[in-house]
């Protein structure tokens, strides 16, 4: 399998409502990523794009609309789409574009402008449910995550305070991220006292509606070595999509995350993920999701990730720093862009360029993961220095 590296990354600040259009957000991130490795657009062979529902931006065939902003004018462009999993999938897509031998240098762009959707971006999610047996019930996106969280808590006898630690950690980590929307110091009590939206989900358990874009540059080995003396190699990729019949699944454990992780670990030759992975960016649109995902990634046994949070293992200076970026809960959640932000964070961490967020111990192997659809899809990338 040919070696593929990430050689550059850039992103916009994440904001609640951007003045910029979606195209402009995509352009700003793409330009920042190219500048970071001193590359010009002419040297880019192909572009891949990720963006979640068209209903956010309010444009049908959003990939076509965004294409010139993403730098794809008269270049090959494909937009892949796995809901919330799209951001990390875009990097996987960039990987297979290069690994296939068809392209040497690929620009990967993820954009989301959720604020265009009125009266509330959640409206875009009303149509994700089954058109025959779910939509007529008037489902709200919070329902399904609240039910998954409940299933997780019930199965392992977890309490809300066990989970709230994740929100506290990530918002604190985000204070050091120059792109962050919601960094800050909160306490477990703040989370437990925040407005109950859909029990057990409360206001501070949830990541915010956000606009933003992220881009990375990926290159074949011979190009990567010319572009940088610090390439970060794609060691493994994995993705799995579980059945659409989500009500038939055991929601307390994300089996599809485990399968995606196993796929990536096999490719990366990882046998003991807990020992071999030094820094991890699991997907955290809700605080419980980070824990759920750490378990699915086989980094902790089922039901045991909350203990790791409590014992400080997941802190930036802990034994396995998790979401050192501040994650979706702290930096913000422009869906597809947030996933690619996790890949960018691992890139910066492995290069020792994460500034105030840098995890100690000179990490050499990191993992980014995203998740989406009807609690159904996982996308995983393992990166090595």
């Amino acid at each position: 399998m040919p070696r593929v590296a990430v050689v550059g990354a850039g992103m916009t600040r994440f904001v609640r409502r951007a003045e910029e259009t979606g195209k402009e957000l995509a352009w700003k991130a793409a330009k920042a990523a190219l500048d970071s490795c001193e590359l010009t657009l002419e040297k880019v062979d192909a572009v891949v794009l990720a963006s979640a529902p068209d209903a956010f931006d309010g444009v049908h065939m959003k990939g076509e609309y965004l294409s010139d902003g993403a730098g794809a004018w008269r270049k090959p462009l494909i937009r892949s789409y796995v809901g919330g999993g799209s951001g990390v999938f875009a990097a996987i897509q960039g990987w297979y574009h290069v690994a296939s031998g068809l392209f040497d240098t690929v620009l990967v762009v993820a954009e989301e402008k959720m604020s265009s959707a009125q009266p509330h971006p959640q409206g875009a999610f009303l149509t994700i449910f089954d058109n025959m047996i779910e939509r007529p019930l008037g489902p709200n996106l919070l329902w399904i995550f609240a039910m998954e969280m409940n299933a997780y808590m019930t199965r392992y006898g977890l309490e809300k305070k066990d989970i709230a630690l994740v929100a506290v950690k990530n918002k604190k980590n985000a204070k050091d991220h120059p792109a962050a929307l919601l960094g800050g110091d909160i306490t477990v009590e703040d989370v437990l006292n925040s407005e109950v939206l859909a029990w057990p989900v409360q206001r501070l358990d949830v990541s915010p509606i956000t606009d933003g874009a992220v881009a990375i540059v990926m290159a074949a080995e011979h190009v990567a070595k010319r572009l940088t003396d610090k390439p970060v190699w794609v060691a493994g990729v994995g993705w799995h999509l579980d059945t659409a019949y989500w009500t038939d699944r055991d929601l307390h454990y994300p089996r599809y995350v485990e399968y995606a992780a196993r796929m990536a670990y096999e490719m990366a030759g990882i046998r003991e993920p807990r020992k071999e992975i030094h820094v991890v960016e699991p997907y955290d649109p809700f605080d419980y999701k980070e824990l759920h995902h750490l378990e699915g990634l086989l980094l902790f046994p089922p039901g045991k990730a909350p203990e790791a949070a409590r014992d400080g293992v997941l802190d930036r200076d802990g034994d396995l720093p998790s979401c050192p970026s501040g994650g979706l809960l702290g930096v913000g959640n422009p869906i597809a862009a947030a996933g690619l932000m996790k890949v960018a964070e691992i890139f910066w961490q492995l290069r020792g360029e994460a500034g105030a967020r840098q995890v100690p111990g000179d990490p050499r192997c990191g993992l980014a993961q995203a998740w989406g659809d009807l609690m159904q899809v996982a996308t995983v990338m393992v990166l090595r220095r």
Binding site: M1, P2, A52, P53, D54, A55, D57, G58, V59, H60, M61, K62, G63, E64, Y65, S67, D68, W73, R74, K75, P76, L77, I78, R79, S80, Y81, V82, G83, F89, W95, Y96, A99, S100, G101, L102, S116, A124, F125, L126, T127, I128, N131, V237, G238, W239, H240, L241, D242, T243, A244, R255, Y256, Y259, A260, M267, G372, D373, L374, Q376, V377
Partner: protein
């Protein structure tokens, strides 16, 4: 040197203006069942990854990839969608195999266009929200503007495009999948109700429902299967500016750029002589002529003349849309490109039936993503 990757199974369902008795899932299940049977493979055991092409607003579902796995045999497997045409999905499947992450990939695309009650409004929703959409123009007008420009600059004539309709609907008479087959005259086309002048309603492909699945496999898998492989020799995709204001209107740049890449990959220097047939986008009659020129199947300004003299007929020197094309079997939205790919594969296998092109060894499939885009893809197949 690119790895050898082949189409080893094809399956389809539908190809009807409406499919009221069956859901999109059941349509996809039928196509997938046929494709796996054709390849002699069990999806739960033998297929490594799946790629499906879809657009949310054509499905009426946000994040439509949620609903693809079960009916394709892809539940709890590496599957994803591309918001693109079926040929982009085919290219994605090729890359997955070439990268080594998969050996067998199933590629799917479908249209349940009959479920959509407001397609023109949805198509218009793809226009730039700030400077184009507020004008409230019907998207069909964009096709009319493009055709009008071609006629007025003398690229081809109104009769030339009418002959494309006559040819394709005539070819469709020999294709049992083609619901819109007809024996027409040039006069019939010209006298039909106007759509967006100068185009008439007969210049536009009517929409239809279908699902298509192609199974791709690496060379080592092909050797172990009892199938006649059709090799994917070239792939390319590209797009011009999405905005109506800044794109090239006289030439289908997306087709030219996509073809350039596909020809380079397939080592094709003279497509008009090296290809034995082409299934290319004819969503509007004038598009077929623009695409023939952009693909190098006709010299600039000669496509109309060549069609008029029978060059592109089923028994011509280079049959173009021998299946009847979209004018014959319909606009299948994201599935259109994959339908063209399937036609080329069946031709190269010698299984095209009454519209078989004799002695063909290399063929081209080309898709356009439809109004209002300037985006397309090309695939070259050979035996």
């Amino acid at each position: 040197m690119h790895p050898k990757i082949a189409v080893v199974g094809v399956g389809w369902a539908g190809f009807q203006p409406q499919t009221p008795g069956i859901s999109y899932k059941e349509l996809m299940f039928e196509a997938a069942t046929r494709a796996y049977a054709d390849a002699g493979l069990d999806p739960r055991r033998d297929v490594d990854s799946w790629v499906s092409a879809s657009e949310d607003y054509h499905e009426g579902t946000s994040i439509f990839d949620e609903y693809i796995p079960d009916q394709l045999g892809a539940a709890l497997r590496p599957a994803h969608t591309v918001a693109a045409d079926g040929l982009h999905a085919l290219a994605t499947g090729w890359m997955l195999i070439a990268s080594g992450v998969a050996r067998v990939v199933a590629v799917e695309a479908h249209s349940k266009a009959s479920d959509i009650l407001s397609l023109p409004e949805i198509t218009a929703f793809a226009l730039d929200p700030v400077v184009e959409r507020p004008l409230g123009i019907h998207p069909g007008a964009i096709a009319g503007l493009e055709a009008d420009l071609a006629y007025s600059r003398g690229a081809f004539t109104r009769e030339d495009t009418a002959r494309v309709v006559v040819k394709n609907k005539g070819n469709a008479l020999k294709n049992p999948r083609a619901s819109f087959a007809a024996r027409l005259s040039v006069e019939d086309v010209l006298a039909a109700e106007p759509l967006a002048t100068p185009l008439t309603v007969l210049d536009e492909a009517p929409r239809a429902d279908a699902a298509i699945v192609l199974v791709l496999a690496s060379e080592d898998v092909v050797k172990a299967l009892d199938v006649a492989p059709v090799w994917i020799r070239g792939l390319g995709w590209s797009q011009d500016a999405p905005s109506l204001e800044t794109r090239e209107w006289e030439e289908a740049v997306y087709a030219r750029e996509a073809a350039k890449r596909a020809y380079q990959m397939a080592a094709i220097k003279d497509p008009a002589t090296q290809l034995d047939l082409a299934e290319i986008d004819d969503t509007y009659s004038h598009k077929e002529l623009l695409h023939m020129e952009a693909l190098g199947l006709a010299a600039e300004g000669e496509a109309g003349y060549l069609v008029a003299k029978g060059y592109a007929d089923l028994d011509g020197e280079l049959p173009v849309n021998p299946s009847g094309g979209s004018l014959g079997w319909g606009n299948l939205l994201e599935a259109t490109g994959l339908a063209r790919a399937m036609e080329v594969v069946l031709q190269l296998r010698g299984e095209a039936g009454a519209h078989q092109v004799e002695g063909c060894e290399q063929g081209l499939a080309m898709s356009w993503r439809g109004l209002p885009t300037a985006s397309g893809a090309v695939a070259i197949f050979g035996v």
